[in-house]
């Protein structure tokens, strides 16, 4: 079930990229980013109202936990910088490499409060297939 939800998130991201890409072609990257965030903010406020959730300011949690929204904007900036130079496929493939490396480190050491899931050598065969597949997609 968890695996299915994960793949579904990916499907949603593909649709989102098509929508957001159309917007940024017309308005430009940063203006569209503002529109996207306003629409998103409006949607989540609606969800909060319907579910009658309350927002409290928690003083005890670390400040950097609130930084995810800011990092997301940097993701967009980094991608915008490299798309014109490296092309779409290579940027995506390198991005996936970055995601995989970061994930392996986070899993193995249980960074940022995540569960420790040790990396095993026999999984290298599977990873080799994955790397091959990504290479194939980038070249063709």
């Amino acid at each position: 079930m968890n695996n299915l939800i994960s793949a579904f998130i990916g499907a949603l991201i593909a649709i989102m990229i098509m929508f957001n890409g159309t917007l940024s072609n017309i308005f430009g990257n940063y203006t569209s980013s503002i529109i996207i965030h306003i629409v998103g903010l409006f949607s989540i406020v609606l969800v909060l109202l319907i579910s009658k959730s309350k927002i409290k300011i928690h003083r005890k949690i670390p400040l950097y936990w609130y930084s995810a929204g800011a990092i997301g904007v940097f993701t967009v900036l980094f991608n915008n910088l490299s798309f014109p130079i490296l092309g779409v496929s290579l940027t995506l493939a390198l991005g996936l490499l970055g995601q995989s490396l970061a994930s392996i480190l986070i899993d193995h050491f249980g960074l940022l409060g995540m569960q420790v899931i040790k990396f095993e050598k026999k999984k290298c065969i599977g990873l080799l297939f994955i790397a091959l597949g990504i290479l194939m997609m980038t070249i063709f």
Partner: protein, 152 residues
């Protein structure tokens, strides 16, 4: 080299966003966490716009050329963040990354086929290779779980 590092950094930042969001969501609630995500994101988008050379000029003609559905990306994004915050603490970060990638890839291929009428064979074959590698590792994990449970 600079642009290669930037692309890899972009990937790392995606994983960091996901985990930090999930941590926030665990403490203050998934919807509340998503709310702060958008507030901070909007604030930083405004700062970036101010520093960029882009002008915030929205004329009537550009507005008319935008199809209505294109505005729903932000709404879809809310679903993505809510679901990610829910699933991130429950899974290995690497598998989550790869499974999201699979879903994205195959729907991306379908969208390309429907809108551009173009089917990229390299992407389909590459996608299946990734799927094989991922399934292989997932099966390894399951065997291990069975092993653990019989030991206990």
């Amino acid at each position: 080299m600079f642009y290669i590092s930037i692309s890899i950094l972009a990937g790392i930042s995606i994983v960091l966003t996901r985990i930090i969001n999930a941590n926030l969501a665990k403490t203050i609630g998934i919807f509340q966490g998503t709310f702060f995500n958008y507030v901070i994101g909007l604030f930083f988008s405004l700062i970036f716009l101010a520093f960029s050379k882009e002008s915030l000029s929205i004329s009537n003609s550009t507005l008319q050329s935008v199809p209505l559905w294109a505005y729903f990306g932000g709404l879809v994004g809310v679903f993505v963040i809510v679901l990610s915050s829910y699933i991130t603490p429950k899974m290995s970060s690497l598998y989550l990354t790869l499974l999201i990638f699979m879903g994205q890839l195959f729907v991306g291929i379908i969208i390309d086929y429907l809108t551009l009428n173009h089917l990229s064979l390299g992407k389909v074959i590459g996608g299946f290779l990734v799927l094989i590698g991922l399934t292989y590792n997932l099966v390894l994990d399951q065997k291990q779980e069975v092993l653990y449970s019989t030991e206990i």
